[in-house]
């Protein structure tokens, strides 16, 4: 149906479209556990105010959301719900996994009722470490995600593959930040931070 996945778009146009997606991430108001409070702080606290970056925490329904932050423990009982809500979001959609619990079970790695990582249920675009991650850490994850969306290849994305960023170096050969740099995150986000 869509033409975009068949036709190569001119550079400025695809830049604009990527810009729209990257800079208007309506994020779903949905928290799971302790991390949700730090997420709430990132979204709701004037000190962090994620709206500056174009991440707008308005929608309460997945239908209007572009981004979901899985913030907290994913239990086996919750996993199908997460799966469904993720499915109910319209494409293109992005997922940030926030905190150790969502990354791979965290403190409850040996529990009988906790899913060991949300990536067993839905694909994840960015993992934010921490327990809980500071709100700034979530912001860093969001900046990283925005960078990646800005460089995304729409054709690939529309066909359903997760984010493909052609220019970024394979992660295994990543360059550690030079000593003294305050940002030790990946080169991509460091670039954005100085931009």
């Amino acid at each position: 149906m869509a033409l975009v996945d068949k036709v190569k778009l001119p550079k400025p146009l695809s830049w604009l479209l990527n810009f729209g997606r990257a800079r208007s991430l309506w994020v779903y108001q949905w928290g799971l556990a302790c991390c949700a409070i730090e997420m709430g702080a990132a979204f709701g606290s004037p000190r962090y105010d994620v709206m500056r970056l174009g991440v707008i925490p308005f929608p309460a329904s997945p239908r209007q959301a572009d981004l979901v932050v899985i913030s907290g423990t994913v239990t086996d009982k919750m996993a199908p719900v997460i799966r469904r809500l993720y499915e109910q979001m319209p494409e293109p959609k992005y997922v940030i996994s926030m905190g150790s619990c969502a990354n791979c079970g965290g403190p409850y790695w040996d529990s009988y009722s906790v899913t060991k990582g949300v990536d067993q249920v839905i694909p994840v675009d960015v993992y934010v470490p921490g327990c809980p991650p500071r709100p700034e850490a979530l912001l860093e994850g969001i900046v990283l995600l925005q960078e990646r969306i800005q460089r995304e290849d729409m054709q690939e994305r529309w066909r359903g593959e997760p984010i493909v960023v052609p220019t970024s170096a394979p992660s295994s050969t990543r360059v550690p930040a030079p000593p003294g740099a305050s940002s030790t995150a990946s080169a991509v986000s460091a670039g954005s931070a100085q931009a």
Binding site: G20, R52, G54, E91, P92
Partner: protein
């Protein structure tokens, strides 16, 4: 008929249409950006959008671009045709409102004789769109939200209409230009320098109008139908992408239009004290004056929205039927008495 610009009908209409097509989305964007994003942020000691464009001005543009790329979902159980038509109905209702808004002696799309009556009629169309959306989504939250919204819209439509009546009695006309003229040429207690903005004599009417407008726009404290914490957004729960965008745009554009109506009817409209009523220069200055007044009124609407909690459904119905409607009827009678006696 040749219009003010002395052009043929078609040329003139095309120009007006063009202007309107630019003005309406711009108005929506401006209100959205200024109040919905920035003003709210400042009231909460935040900054609001800041990174997208200078001071975040491009935020809503980015939103629009994004919404255009979103997948379009019709829930399987939904009634597709009605589902699709609903936002268009709502948008058309708010578009049609703009037809009669005067911004200068000649700067008006069409100066309909039934002016305000027409405005009330088209604004009531949005109820239909809301009910359609709520029903067609095949979703409980949406249906509940749609019904509540419809119930609220009709309840507050009445005081809205009745509050206007006082102005109509004072101005002796339904025509919005005539209403502006009546304010410009009127005088209060012999003091005619600033004319007679009807807010002075119709303060009760103005209050009722503003309260009802707030409710018609489903803004807090009357936003129970779209309450996020209960109904996850009400009738537009299931809407995605640009269809949601249409609802959103219509909402903000209607807010703009209602502020404009309030300005025209109660705040003296585009007229500037000291000018001739028909001075052509007002065609240029008028819109500016209007814009300033509209922004003031819209500011109040959004200010209240960001400050207040919302009323419960039964409370706001009670308020409409037991307070506002009797009050506005009384206002009509009192205004009538003054009109006849004085």
């Amino acid at each position: 008929m040749t219009g003010a610009l002395g052009l043929a009908y078609w040329a003139e209409t095309s120009i007006k249409l063009g202007v309107a097509l630019i003005v309406i989305p711009t108005a929506a964007l401006m209100l959205g950006y200024l109040f919905l994003l920035k003003m709210m942020a400042f009231m909460q000691s935040r900054l609001g959008p800041q990174d997208v464009g200078p001071y975040g001005t491009l935020q809503l543009i980015a939103d629009a671009v994004k919404f255009l790329q979103k997948e379009d979902i019709h829930p399987a159980a939904a009634d597709r045709r009605v589902f699709r038509a609903a936002p268009v109905v709502v948008l058309a209702s708010s578009f049609l409102l703009f037809v009669v808004l005067p911004t200068g002696p000649d700067a008006v799309v069409e100066n309909l004789d039934t002016g305000i009556f027409y405005a009330m009629a088209v604004s009531s169309l949005s109820v239909l769109g809301v009910l359609m959306a709520g029903w067609a989504s095949a979703n409980k939250y949406a249906l509940l939200g749609g019904l509540r919204a419809a119930g609220q819209l009709i309840a507050y439509e009445l005081p809205l209409i009745l509050a206007v009546m006082g102005v109509v009695i004072q101005a002796d006309s339904l025509n919005l230009q005539e209403i502006v003229r009546a304010q410009a040429e009127g005088e209060i207690f012999g003091f005619g320098l600033i004319g007679n903005p009807f807010i002075l004599t119709q303060f009760i009417g103005f209050l009722i109008f503003m309260i009802s407008a707030q409710a018609e726009l489903t803004q807090t404290p009357f936003d129970m139908p779209v309450a996020e914490t209960e109904l996850v957004g009400g009738f537009h729960v299931e809407y995605t992408g640009f269809r949601f965008l249409l609802f959103f745009m219509a909402e903000v554009a209607t807010a703009f239009a209602f502020s404009a109506l309030a300005t025209v009817m109660f705040l003296g409209g585009w007229w500037i004290p000291g000018f001739d009523f028909d001075a052509p220069v007002l065609n240029v200055l008028g819109p500016v004056v209007m814009l300033v007044k509209i922004l003031v009124v819209a500011f109040i609407i959004f200010w209240i929205r960001f400050t207040y909690p919302r009323l419960r459904e039964d409370q706001l119905q009670k308020f409409a039927w037991k307070v506002l409607i009797p009050l506005s009827l009384a206002n009509i009678v009192v205004t009538g008495i003054f009109k006849v006696v004085l």
